[in-house]
Amino acid sequence: MSKAALSVEHTTMPLLGRLPAHSSRAEQVAHIAEAARQIRIQDLKLVYHAGAGHIGGDFSAIDILATLYGAVLEIGPETVADPERDRFILSKGHVAGALYTTLAAFGFLPITELATFLKPLSALNGHPNRTKVAGVEANTGPLGHGLPIAVGHALSAKLDVSLRRTYVLVGDGELQEGSNWEAMMAASQYQLDRLTVIVDRNRLQQGATTKETNDLDPLPEKAAAFGFAVVEVNGHDHGELLDVLSAVPFRPGKPTFVIAHTHKGHPVSFMSNNVAWHHKVPNPAEYQQAMTELETVGQPRLAVSPRLDKELR
């Protein structure tokens, strides 16, 4: 079977948008779950037909992205330039494909524009560009940049006496960059309690596990020692994500550190928790299998047992 180059034919995702604010929690969670499923299907098509991308990290983060854009962030296509909008900064910029697909799902860019992903002169580069794509807040790609930028924005909000919130998603491997820890010290020094750092804790990086490379554990204790209120969630459980991400700040005066336990490649059986899928592109058989799994698998399962900090809930 030969593979067609990415085209508008492959942009099949429906426009999802957001539910009305008065919707029940159950409705919200169901909506996020469906959005995440659609975003994964679309993202798989992008990576497969474009022949490039970071599918492992994409799939690790999509439930977090869908929750943020689907129900948490005070931002929409009409308010994308509103100075009072909430800010979301994708620090692990290599999952740009997941971000673009999420932004398209919620109306920030035409779904058909996804067909330009990685093509010559496209706005949809392999790493996000805020000067080209509405909704992108920072030109990330080099790891360890998003958290300092988020601290700067949270400081700016504080100076404005604004209640707008700042969220930043970092990879766990990314936390090996010292700039993150410098920024965390500043965040607690300035008591930025409307700043939330979300760690995509999939325990894998580019070439190996984080443990084999430069172990981060005990991560909760480290973040707490740096002055953060720490919460652990199942990063593929939309209900938990919704509850936690909409509840910040947990402790007045403290920034929040959400450790989202995830699996790289989730929920595709042969990709999940497999470091080989950092930036591998599926072959036709793998594509078919992944698509079948995404289309048929209902509620994704996760093998880790998440723990919510009792003190905080």
Binding site: N125, G126, N129, G173, Q176, Q205, G207
Partner: protein, 318 residues
């Protein structure tokens, strides 16, 4: 591998990272002081086999480039010869102060190997392109900067670097290139190599663009324009004599490189020419944060194809 007498464009192509790992392993067998230092870049530097052969001598500091170069400086202080092996963009941009203070100013015996430089990362965009590395490092006193054009030169430059005491930066190309040098080639710092004699115009190039300049010279020759082609792997120190001779003997110089037009090989040539023998110089390179596109697309876009280089040379002589 031998170079046969057909157009260089038709020769088989090689990823210089293969010559890099092969040579590094040979050097490590010969000299126990040699170690590799990486930033979660074992795979992207193709060092899996090295890690297998020398598990204790491949130090992976994680995704932490400042630490990586600082650690390399300390390893050198302890008598090791560290070959730091990381994507050139992160190695040079993120750890620039470590390169300046801990390596160059401290004059430590650290070899900085910038993998996949230039626009090799194509669609991954300007954050991952390493077009500024040459300009940044040229500005630092005490750095030797080598931009090899093929696997033979990559290996030769590594051998030379291992044998000298002091900081060296070597670009290791990912974009595949034909073999342009004979197997017997040895690297000499500060020396240009005349790839083709000519007296109408001079093309000065290195790295992945050198073979393109050689093809451009073939095209120009067909029109009766005799282009001298100088390979300039050693951007610092530069072969001042060869540049001045080109300025004196030909109508002008075209520089062509896979890096920014500000402060790279073109900058080095222009600085030399204005001080010694003012002449016309056209600088080809990447003039901006490149738009989305593959490496090949981007090289063509900025006139770094054989046709683009030949066009610039024609304009210079006309």
């Amino acid at each position: 591998m031998t170079v046969v007498d057909t157009s260089i464009a038709d020769q088989p192509r090689y990823d210089c990272r293969d010559a890099y790992v092969e040579t590094l392993a040979e050097l490590a067998h010969e000299d126990h002081r040699i170690v590799g230092v990486v930033n979660d870049s074992v795979g992207s530097s193709k060092l899996n086999s090295f890690r297998k052969a020398f598990p204790d001598r491949l130090i992976n500091v994680g995704i932490a480039e400042q630490d990586m170069v600082g650690v390399a400086s300390g390893l050198a202080n302890g008598g090791r010869i560290p070959f730091v092996s990381a994507a050139s963009c992160f190695l040079t941009a993120r750890a620039l102060e470590q390169i300046k203070a801990d390596v160059a100013y401290s004059n430590t015996n650290v070899k900085l190997c910038g993998m996949s430089p230039g626009v090799a990362y194509g669609e991954l965009g300007p954050t991952h392109h390493s077009i500024e590395d040459i300009a940044w490092l040229r500005a630092i006193s005490g750095m030797t900067i080598i931009v090899p054009a093929d696997p033979v030169e990559t290996a030769a430059a590594l051998r030379w670097a291992a044998a000298v005491d002091g900081p060296v930066f070597i670009r290791v190309s990912r974009m595949s290139v034909p073999q342009v040098y004979p197997d017997s080639y040895t690297f000499e710092p500060g020396k240009a190599i005349t790839m083709r004699a000519g007296n109408d115009v001079t093309l000065i190039s290195n790295g992945t663009v050198l073979w393109r300049a050689m093809v451009a010279a073939e095209q120009l020759a067909a029109e009766g324009i005799s282009a001298r082609v100088l390979s300039m792997p050693s951007v610092k120190p530069l072969d001042v004599e060869a540049v001045v001779a080109a300025a004196e003997q030909t109508a002008g110089i075209v520089t062509a490189e896979e890096s920014t037009i500000a402060g790279g090989l073109g900058g080095a040539v222009a600085e030399t020419v204005v001080q010694h023998h003012p002449a016309r110089v056209s600088i080809l390179g990447i003039p901006e944060f490149a738009p989305t596109g593959s490496a090949g697309y981007l090289l063509d876009r900025y006139g770094l194809s054989p046709e683009g280089i030949a066009d610039t040379a024609r304009r210079l002589v006309s």
